[in-house]
Amino acid sequence: MARLIGRRLLLMVPTLILVSILVFALAEVLPGNLGRFILGPYATQSAVDQLNHNLGMDKPIYTRYVEWAGHFVTGHWGTSYQYTTSVFPLVMRALGNSLLLAGFALVIIVPTSILVGVYAGLRRDSILDRAITISSLSMTVIPEFVSGVILIVVFAVTLHWLPVQAMPPQGSPFIDRFYYLILPAIPLMLLELGYIARMARVGTVQVLNMPYVRTAVLKGLPRRRVIFGHVLRNALVPTVTVIGSQIGWLIGGLVVVETLFNYPGIGNYMVNAALNHDLPLLEACVLVVAVLYMLSNLIADIVVAFLNPRIRMGG
């Protein structure tokens, strides 16, 4: 187990270097003349040169990559051009907001989709099963901002059940934030529901055909005990695998949902930084998201390995 985790952590290193080079290349090419971009067309050439010198844009590329990577590792992430504040606390606050939204979404997604999938599997080929399968699968293919907009129009604008914005007004108690996060979490749920529910359904259907389930039924166990004691435990292993592989989609979905609801999370900051050429902020956001993505994949793999004795014992 420890060897598995160690090997996976080592495998992350080349990928991280690749991503950091891509991000650095972006920082090199994107602005053209950075000093000119910031100061505008009417600034004098000497002022532009001075700013370029202060920003370190006149040194050779490899020096700047090494310096840049070193600064990044030591937590000196520079100053945001847009907000003129230090990037590190900015990104950490945004990361906290994003994790809150993602965690809340996962807490809703996992039980709901397992419930829906197992229910459909237990009533295989009924009209309800068909309806669940078709509607949840069509939900997964619809972009998050489309379902988000439709949800806002229905539940916020028309019915006034939920607020349009994703952040409560300043000074509200922390618990209020969850109420404001319900609407943004639903598009994320719709995105994942189809896959997870389908897996849970397939798992249930397969396990129901197993001899040990027939034995359990024939020896007279009540239906509830058959389902909870025999079916669910075995049906959920493939489902957990799928949940892990869906985390990447969830992070991609966060970018869109945060932008739609104007929620101050890391995806929203990343999009705004890219649109406004705010390089230090963009670099930090992309690298943090990359690390987050790789770590969550790693955790998913470990959970799967933990559930599967063949991998757990074999190392």
Binding site: V29, I142, F145, V289
Partner: protein, 299 residues
């Protein structure tokens, strides 16, 4: 005739065998088409997509001009003269929604074709040669899949700037790894079959075996994969446009319209709702086609 030897006869036999094989192929294809047309998912999907293709090409000939602002008819709710209402510049939302199909239906299919070409080459080579070539290629593919597609796309587009060509190239490139994986596993399933061995024993070159022997036998998984990717391509183009990395105003593109009009969401929900529904219907349509194809092929 008899003196001329067996050559013409044998050629005749071969021709007849070829003709029989071709007839058999045609029969199978007809059967496939007939069972596709009997699949309701496929037919509904085709109808939806056809509707948007027709709208994307011809809608501007019978609707009001989609880019024409009317300063005196701003944010009007749906009525007989403006079926879907008007937006914040007084433009007709119906006309813009119908015309919005145009850009997506150019970019997404071209990007998919590009990804199929590249992914096909990578997948065929990796699956056919196996060994070190395969290992190396799959490592690169893994590295590309290390970040969510939408984030890599944002990075590359900020690097290269925005245009039709760049959108097509970026989405094509980012879809290549997934497609090459699918094609690789299909090739691995075929490469040990007798007909491949026979072709190799005949002394055919590898390129010939890949292109003329294996490729025709894996068209079905390729078609299904291509349709599924087309759905994702529409999804990705729309999302990039929504985030501000796709098309630019005043294009009536759906993703862009949702992004720019969402400021009026509370006062005039129709400006956002109709393009959003249009996009949803197109994506669902493409996926219905993919579902119909894959269930007909797997029968």
């Amino acid at each position: 005739m008899a003196a001329a030897g067996t050559t013409p006869d044998r050629r005749l036999d071969e021709l007849q065998a070829d003709a029989a094989a071709a007839a058999e192929q045609r029969r199978q294809r007809r059967y496939l088409v007939r069972s596709l047309l009997r699949s309701p998912t496929f037919v509904v999907g085709v109808l939806i997509v056809l509707f948007w293709v027709v709208m994307g090409v011809f809608s501007t000939t019978f609707t009001q001009p989609p880019a024409l602002p009317h300063p005196f008819a701003i944010l009007q709710s749906p009525s007989a003269s403006h079926w879907f209402g008007t937006d914040d510049l007084g433009r007709d939302v119906f006309a813009r929604t119908m015309a919005g199909a145009h850009t997506v239906l150019i970019i997404a299919p071209l990007a998919t074709v590009l990804a199929l070409l590249w992914g096909g080459m990578v997948g065929l080579t990796a699956g056919f040669y196996r060994g070190l070539t395969d290992d190396l290629m799959m490592r690169v593919v893994d590295a590309f899949l290390a970040l969510p597609i939408i984030i890599t796309a944002i990075l590359i587009i900020s690097l290269l700037g925005r245009s039709y060509a760049i959108l097509i190239l970026v989405i094509g490139a980012l879809f290549t790894p997934v497609i090459s994986r699918t094609i690789r596993s299909a090739v691995i399933g075929e490469r040990e079959r007798e007909y491949v061995m026979a072709a190799r024993l005949r002394g055919e070159r590898s390129a010939f075996v890949m292109a003329r022997e294996i490729l025709p036998n894996i068209t079905q998984p390729i078609i299904v994969e291509g349709t599924v990717r087309l759905g994702y391509a529409v999804f990705t183009v729309a999302t990039l446009s929504f985030l501000g990395f796709g098309l630019e105003p005043p294009s009536p593109d759906w993703g862009l319209t949702v992004a720019t009009e969402r400021l009026n969401l509370q006062a005039a929900p129709w400006t956002v709702l109709f393009p959003a529904l249009a996009l949803a219907s197109l994506v669902v349509g493409v996926n219905l086609i993919a579902d119909g194809l894959s269930s007909t092929f797997s029968k």
